[in-house]
Amino acid sequence: MNSSLILEIAVTILALALLLADLWTPRNLKRYLGYAAAAGTGLILLGSFAWNPDPGSSAFDTMYVLDPLALYFKRFFLFAGVAVLLIGVEFSDRFVTGVTEFSVLVLFALCGMLFAASANDFILVFVSLELITVTFYVLNSFQRTRLVSLEAGVKYLILGALSTAFTVYGIALIFGTTGHTNFQQIAALTGNMTNKPVFILGLLMVLAGLGFKIAAFPFQMWAPDVYQGSPTPATAFLAVGSKAAGIVLLLRVLFIAVPAVAVDWTKLLMVMSGITILYGNLCALPQRNLKRLLGYSSIAQAGYLLLGVTAMSAAGNSSVLFYLTGYLFTVLAAFMVIAIVTRGVDGEDVSALAGLHQRSPLLATALTLSMVSLAGIPPLAGFFGKFLLLKSVLERGAIQPACYWLVGVALVGIVISFYYYLGVVRAIFWSENSGSNERISISWPSRAVLLVCIGGMLYLGLMPNRVVNASVQAVQVLKPTSMPRAVVRF
């Protein structure tokens, strides 16, 4: 057993330990187990920075690889895990039972994500995806006294299972046509597989499964309902973790398993990303429910992420990573705020934010900054992220003029998004305050998370240099260089 699995193992052990500890913890102290989980995950995160494995190391005979890309995403997921666990504690008084189970489930999902980060084989793709999905069935319906939560759970259950079915069948077809499930081996063959319909069909079905995870058109239908219904921490994890897992798997499949096919699919990806952007932004425009709004916005964001993928270049991939990192802080801050603000009130209507700047300047600042960052306004992470994405696509435009149209669509999306994002800001500062006016108390861990998220947004916006370099270096394992060097063709 080599050391490359150490993070996954640590997380699993932590989860099991929590389950045991839960047996002896008196009811009123259970929420502290949540803190413990967060702390433990935090320690693992810090440890991951201390620990640097040799790049090529792998496990389960190359089914699982530990390359810089994997490490980048593992840290990403671990941070997300810490934040979500703390959001969960904030939220715990709204669970009838099983505060600890919630944390444990989060940890299991996290474990799945960690595996997904280094999946190098379709079997592991399937297993890790399932680990994530199945735990999310429970997480989404965790407020089992609230009908919306159950409904969200069921919808996610059916549609998730459906997407799994497609993925699995796709994998079956790929295996059938290539006789392999390992990425490298498939890559070795794809040169002459590109014209085999069955193979392409299988690949597409896998793509559908991943598209479902990142909520990209045409597999995005579930997102708004599930985002709205699920408990806020679960939604946060869904928005950040499972989307990121989908992205990393998409990158790996496209650029490691089937780079040759990936190039042929540029057009497809462009169409998907363009429509996703428009769909998400347009639907978000009339939206009043905050979590549903973020659901639609997360669809739009998926579209932006796909922009980077369509660039088919190292620049594109690294910008995807950068954007995702910014998105991490942004969205976590937003959901943390929502979790705290909606503590008393039922439902998450935008009006709940009225007078927030008086009730709690910190929350107001955090939510404002995250909205501004999502809208892509300097000096925050979102601005530089969008800048990188557009830049990479425009570079692609030099060989594929269609990219200019895609950029045009993206711009339209950005303009539209201004309205609803700034609308939220408006609601925070300038809607007449109807609701209660007492100050909101925030526990210091949540406060810490918020500050870290704000810091992250500003850091990525104001001094992106290190993260950019890190992402550039992380995506070197992906091989977009297997494409012909592009030439301007006007």
């Binding site: 660039a311 088919m312 270049s313 190292a314 620049a315 501004v372 306004i377 300097p378 000096p379 601005f383 800048f387 557009l390 830049k391 425009l394 570079e395 692609r396 435009g397 030099a398 060989i399 950029v407 711009l411 950005i414 303009v415 201004f418 309205y419 700034l422 800001v425 408006r426 500062f429 300038w430 001094m463 992106p464 240099n465 950019v468 370099n469 550039v472 977009p480 260089t481 494409m483 060097r485 592009a486 030439v487 301007v488 063709r489 006007f490």
Partner: protein, 506 residues
């Protein structure tokens, strides 16, 4: 540390302080804002005085690498083209902060946004790095929208906010795309303007690439400058904006588009630019004549001023389009002059609105009687607006006319008509309606501006007159760079046909 860093840093510092001050310490907030902008104004004046005339290379430069892998760096410095603009920006910024007394609600948020906007503006004009040029502009743009949306006035406020957001965001994004493509196509792997310029001079872009990029820049920047027919956002937007915002945006931030065209579009894409010159000349007539006529029809002062400020943009475009030393220099002079003028007239309009609570010109009349200072300032603003000698606008406009005659005789004739006749018509109508004529009884108790209220107007008028009487203060500084720009822009490049290879990734 370059003085420019301080000039744009002080307002930012002020913004931070305001953010940290409790909202009920109104006085502290105001003082902080006034003090920081005052300091940055004084620094700007000092810089302008110390600026060495006759050198084309940027001065007071400071360069800090930001993202090496993309060749982005925080790079500020001034040469002839932007030294005047930075000075003007700082002065207008202070004046606008002085005018902010009219804001009575949520001062904390307002001053925070105002100071952010100010430092964004100054940064945009001080930057020699394309990325930061855009970055700062965007930083200044967003507060504008919020300020109009929240502290704006008039029944059409919401529509105005929507419209200005729509137009300006689209304009900015188009420009951004153009800039990125320029960066990519140049293959210079740097956003540093000077290096990029050098690189492109060494190996010009292919004509196709230029033809691809130029429209993005022209229309992107054009929308930002309310180039006809993308101008309707401006009058309504300014009319609905709170006075300081209108002063800052109409006066300073709006010039960003022109600055971009002058700095990047024309010199770096000469071949494409030549194809567009005639169209620009026609569009700028749209500004001068069409918008001028619209201004004649306005019944409300803020709409009239707004339209007139749009009309003035036409002269600048004409100057740029004439692409010769005199024209370009004149254009830059107008940029500076119009900055003061727009701030002045919007400031006066705002003052009258505060005093009387209306913009309807038929409601007013004979206000000169009750407020001699404001009235006199208003008359002077109107005169400057219709290009009276002694005010800086005249210098620029006359230079533009002289320059444009050789390239676009017909356009020049129309522009002259627009500047001398139409301008006079609507400006004097305004004076006639506002300051002259019998005084309606209801304004009997109006009083003139007190000493402190006079300060911003005096500063702005002073600057207008100084540069109007001693234009060489500006023109001598501008000339060397204008020469460079013209040389590059009129270079008949033998465009390389063999394709530029674009590294996907490095």
């Amino acid at each position: 540390m370059s003085p420019l860093t301080y000039i744009l840093g002080w307002p930012l510092l002020g913004a931070a302080l305001v953010a940290l001050t409790p909202r009920n310490y109104r006085f502290v907030i105001r003082t902080v804002a006034l003090f920081t902008t005052l300091v940055s104004m004084l620094l700007a004046v000092k810089m302008f005085v110390q600026f060495q005339t006759g050198i084309a290379t940027p001065q007071f430069v400071q360069k800090v690498p930001w993202v090496e892998s993309l060749g982005i760096s925080y790079y500020v410095g001034v040469d002839g083209l932007n030294v005047g603009l930075v000075l003007m920006g700082a002065i207008v910024a202070f004046a606008a902060t002085c005018m902010s007394w009219e804001i009575k609600t949520r001062e904390k948020e307002f001053y925070f946004l105002l100071l952010t906007m100010i430092s964004g503006i100054l940064g945009a004009f001080a930057s020699l790095d394309i990325f930061f040029l855009y970055f700062f502009h965007e930083l200044a743009l967003i507060p504008t929208f919020i300020m109009i949306g929240v502290w704006g006035r008039g029944e059409e406020k919401n529509y105005a906010t929507f419209q200005i957001t729509l137009y300006l965001t689209i304009g900015a994004l188009l420009a951004l795309v153009g800039l990125i493509v320029l960066y990519i196509q140049s293959g210079a792997q740097t956003f540093d303007m000077l290096e990029l310029t050098r690189h492109i001079q060494a190996n010009p872009l292919s004509v196709n690439a230029q033809n691809l990029i130029f429209p993005f820049l022209l229309f992107g920047f054009g929308i930002l400058v309310s180039l006809w027919p993308f101008h309707t956002w401006a009058p309504l937007g300014y009319g609905s904006a709170p006075t300081p915002t209108a002063m800052l945006h109409a006066g300073v931030l709006k010039k960003f588009g022109l600055y971009g065209l002058l700095r990047l579009a024309f010199p770096l894409l000469p071949d494409a630019a030549h194809g567009w010159l005639n169209i620009i000349a026609i569009l700028c007539l749209g500004n001068i004549l069409y918008v001028g006529l619209v201004a004649i029809r306005q019944k409300q002062l803020h709409m009239l001023i707004g339209n007139s400020s749009v009309a003035h943009m036409g002269f600048i475009f004409l100057g740029l389009a004439s692409l010769n030393l005199v024209g370009v220099t004149g254009a830059v002079v107008i940029m500076v002059a119009h900055g003061f003028l727009a701030a002045l007239s919007f400031g006066l309009g705002g003052y009258l609105f505060q005093a009387t609570g209306t913009f309807e010109m038929k409601e007013w009349g004979g206000l000169m009687k009750k407020m001699p200072f404001i009235g006199a300032a208003f008359v002077m603003a109107a005169m400057a607006g219709c290009g009276l000698p002694g005010f800086a606008n005249f210098v620029g406009e006359v230079m533009v006319f002289f320059a444009a005659w050789k390239t676009f005789p017909v356009a020049t004739i129309f522009a002259l008509w627009g500047g001398l006749v139409i301008g006079a018509v609507y400006m004097l109508r305004a004076v006639r309606a506002v300051a002259h004529g019998p005084l309606p009884g209801k304004w009997a108790e109006l009083t003139d501006a007190g000493l402190w209220r006079k300060v911003p107007f005096i500063i702005l008028l002073g600057s207008l007159i100084i540069f109007g009487c001693v234009p060489r203060l500006l023109t001598d500084k501008i000339r060397p760079n204008a020469e460079e720009i013209v040389k590059m822009a009129t270079r008949t490049a033998a465009p390389k046909i063999e394709p530029v290879t674009v590294g996907l990734g490095k």
